[in-house]
């Protein structure tokens, strides 16, 4: 009954991958080694010191899902994390979600993999798991392990949150260079969860708006501007330790989170049509950078630091309400974020306008110092806020990487 899966690349690339690999399961959709010959590493290991999908060079596509745990049984929750870990590890290797496979099983049983990724390479898939504040209520005996900073994000000015697109007990961030691979991952993890956890909301992102490595170009958001120029990059080891990874002494209640991070998610709708009617000069003044190259209005190229004291005529070159000024680390005790957001378009609204914007994701060491103050400043004063409506919001604690033989977040339950 076994039908070996052969990747498209495998078919084109010849025998190396197909030959000498025993069994359909081991063939996978493609292998990391095979893919790397073509276009950089296309498969990332699931296990490691930190979870993949944070400093991993930002892939092009996102499917993000928040879940409500539907069981009150702690053992069931742990079994879900075990099952998720196994499935995630398989899928990031371009293998099926289940042990059997999409077409290899009993014809009388629903397949344990849904099949839409047959023939697709790993596509750089990373699956990153997080725990929301609500997981630490009285259901699972985790209340005394809740990190102090893991609270429902406060209300910010201009928040118009849809509760159905906010918060959650668990989150799954699936990123890949092929949208079908990212959707396949979330779909199969949701299936595995039925009876233990249910999707609360999910969000597709079709294009990255950040670069997390110096090897990547800076992409553009739907305002048409480069986004994430000053991001913390994977190569900045010291900055990661200072701004992204939770340190050993950060929170006595949560030693399980050391080496992990906090994931701040914000669904930011843009009023696209109104924005598009703004004169180019105004757009650049709102952002504080040029639209073309992305250099600061105080002069220089994309990666030159803005000079906030520079004056053009009688006004500051970078206006006092320009986005780049208000969120700059200089204004926030040097706090930086690792941003990993994605452009989204969820079709159009009732009036024919794009239901579109930025699904903002930032990884920070402490949201109380690295996210909330910056978000407050932006919401109060940023010129861009005129064109933004925040419709979803969530905070998750992202445990450190998963060691061999462990499930994700195991230390939390130890």
């Amino acid at each position: 009954m076994s039908t070996p899966r052969i990747s498209r690349r495998g078919l084109l690339g010849g025998g190396a991958a197909a030959a000498g690999v025993a069994g359909a399961f081991a063939v996978g959709r493609t292998t990391a080694a095979e893919a790397s010959e073509a276009s950089g590493p296309a498969a990332y290991a699931f296990r490691g010191e930190h979870q993949a999908g944070i400093v991993t060079p930002a892939q092009d596509r996102l499917h993000f899902a928040a879940f409500d745990v539907t069981t009150d049984d702690r053992d069931e929750l742990v079994s879900l994390l075990q099952d998720w870990t196994e499935a995630a590890e398989r899928m990031t290797r371009a293998e099926p979600a289940g042990e059997v496979g999409p077409v290899e099983g009993d014809p009388l049983l629903p397949p344990d993999d849904t099949g839409e990724a047959i023939g697709l390479p790993a596509s750089g898939l990373t699956i990153t798991f997080g725990f929301g504040p609500s997981l630490f209520d009285d259901r699972f005996g985790l209340a005394d392990r809740r990190p102090a900073a893991l609270r429902t994000l406060p209300h910010f000015p201009a928040d118009m949150l849809d509760p159905a697109k906010s918060n959650g007990d668990l989150c799954v961030q699936a990123c890949a260079d092929d949208p079908q691979v990212a959707v396949h991952a979330v779909r199969n993890l949701a299936r595995i969860a039925f009876g233990r956890a249910a999707v609360r909301w999910s969000q597709l992102g079709f294009g990255r708006t950040s670069s997390t490595s110096t090897t990547q170009d800076t992409p553009r958001n739907l305002f048409g501007f480069k986004d994430g120029t000053a991001n913390v990059k994977a190569e900045e080891t010291a900055a990661l330790a200072e701004h992204v990874w939770v340190g050993a002494d950060d929170d006595a209640a949560a030693p399980w989170l050391v080496g992990g991070s906090y994931l701040c998610a914000r669904r930011i709708n843009m009023t696209i049509e109104v924005w598009d009617r703004q004169p180019l000069g105004d757009q650049e003044l709102f952002v504080g950078r040029t639209k073309g190259e992305g250099g600061p209005l105080s002069g220089g190229g994309e990666f030159d630091e803005p000079d906030f004291d520079a004056v053009t005529g009688t006004s500051p070159s970078v206006p006092v309400d320009a986005h780049v000024r208000l969120v700059h680390p200089d204004l926030h005790d040097g706090a930086r974020m690792l941003r990993r957001g994605y452009n989204f378009v969820d079709g159009s609204d009732d009036r024919g306008g794009l239901n579109a914007g930025l699904f903002f994701i930032a990884y920070v060491r402490d949201p109380d110092t690295h996210f909330i103050p910056i978000q407050n400043t932006m919401a109060k004063s940023d010129a861009l806020m005129e064109y933004l409506k925040v419709t979803g919001s969530a905070l998750f604690a992202v445990p450190p990487g998963t060691a061999d033989g462990e499930h994700v977040g195991q230390a939390l339950f130890a």
Partner: protein, 387 residues
């Protein structure tokens, strides 16, 4: 026609009442397992209400004026472990049935109509009974199939009876309130066996098509046509049906229900049909009921929801002994998930029925949907566990 359901053990047990003091082994096996039943027009008197597991006999005497039936029902009051029917006035017949430990109902049905006159009956654990119950795989399959056939026939009979009452009320023209009360009750019997009814491809669209599913030029008949006429509040510029039209659609529905009932009498099932039927009924819930699409005008979707779950559960309970043998973990999961879904449904009961779908909060709908997903996912593995 006298028909006795001979169950797997197929024992012809001479039935001495209360042969409890016997010392020989055969008599021990019979000890406390033989009962008499007296069925009258308004009573159903069983000589006991508890027995050890094993082969039970019920000698049923009809002291009433009408033909009667006797059933041993599962604790849901739906699943039929065994029945004897067509017991004429002043005659008697014996039901022999193999019953594992559990809660049951004994039920007489004088006039062979309605829910019957029921009383609780308990079967307790018993060591020698377990030996009697260690049926072979084929015996378990046969029992499941026989029980399901009885169940479908019973529901079909009740559907016909209630449909007759319903169309009478509807045609009368001045009993619409009563017709509206009866509508979801009568449809319960349809929804419990919906997957069987759907196997008659020509009947189902005539009886259960929703307006949204009509093809251009197709005539709309059946339950939902009448539903819209009884609940026109949400309809735009609705033209109420004339008395003649009412009579036409009512008679058409009744005639199709009679045809369905005739066809069902001869229907036999296979074990995979049983398992697939259970899964299919949950799919009906997931696609049409939990979304509030089925009862677009009356919003009585939760009655249908419950009825689909009833049917799925009866089919599962029938094959459960086989699943417990082949995949005990699956049997346990399904039992738990059925119970969890039922708990949520019970929370929405109001009076003899349920809340209207439109009165549910989005959170309640999501909770029900989650429970349906939680059950339907493992239910997909049922067929492979029974064949």
């Amino acid at each position: 026609m006298k028909r006795i359901l001979i169950t797997a053990a197929g024992l012809l047990v001479a039935a001495p009442v209360l042969a409890a003091c016997g010392t020989e082994s055969t008599e021990q096996a019979e000890a406390g397992r033989a009962f008499t039943v007296e069925s009258t027009d308004d009573a159903c008197t069983v000589s006991g209400d508890e027995a050890p597991a094993g082969t039970l006999t019920f000698e049923v005497s009809n002291k009433g004026s009408d033909v009667t039936e006797f059933y041993l029902l599962g604790k849901d009051g739906l699943r039929i472990l065994g029945e004897v029917e067509n017991i004429g006035a002043d005659s008697s017949n014996t039901l022999t049935v193999n019953a594992p430990a559990g809660e049951y109902f004994a039920s007489c049905k004088p006039g062979m109509k309605g829910e019957g006159i029921r009383s609780a009956f308990t079967v307790t654990e018993s060591e020698e009974g377990e030996e009697q119950l260690s049926a072979s795989d084929q015996e378990m399959v046969d029992e499941a199939l026989a029980g399901y056939k009885l169940y479908v026939r019973d529901q079909s009979a009740q559907l016909l009876e209630k449909t007759q009452e319903f169309v009478d009320l509807y045609k009368a023209g001045d009993h619409d309130d009563a017709a509206r009360v009866l509508y979801p009750v009568a449809r319960t019997h349809w929804e419990r066996i919906e997957t069987v009814a759907e196997s008659f491809g020509d009947l189902d669209p005539k009886m259960d098509l929703r307006e949204a599913d009509l093809e251009p030029g197709q005539e709309w008949t059946g339950w939902h046509k009448i539903e819209k006429d009884l609940w026109p509040a949400d309809a735009v510029k609705y033209q109420a049906l004339t008395p003649e039209e009412r009579a036409f659609y009512a008679d058409d529905l009744l005639a199709n229900t009679e045809t369905l009932d005739e066809k069902i009498q001869d229907l036999d099932y296979t074990i995979d049909q049983l398992a697939n039927g259970s899964r299919g009924l949950l799919e009906e819930v997931a696609v049409g009921k939990v979304t509030g699409e089925e009862e677009f005008w009356s919003h009585t979707d939760l009655w249908d929801f419950q009825a689909n779950v009833d049917g799925a559960r009866v089919a599962f309970d029938g094959v459960k002994p086989i699943v417990e043998k082949n995949d005990p973990e699956l049997a346990e999961t399904l039992t738990t998930r059925f119970d969890e879904l039922q708990t949520l449904l019970d929370a929405q009961r109001e009076g003899d029925g349920f809340k209207l779908y439109t009165d549910l909060t989005p959170e309640e709908v999501k909770g029900l949907s989650n429970a349906v997903d939680a059950l339907a996912e493992p239910l997909g593995s049922l067929t492979a566990a029974v064949v």
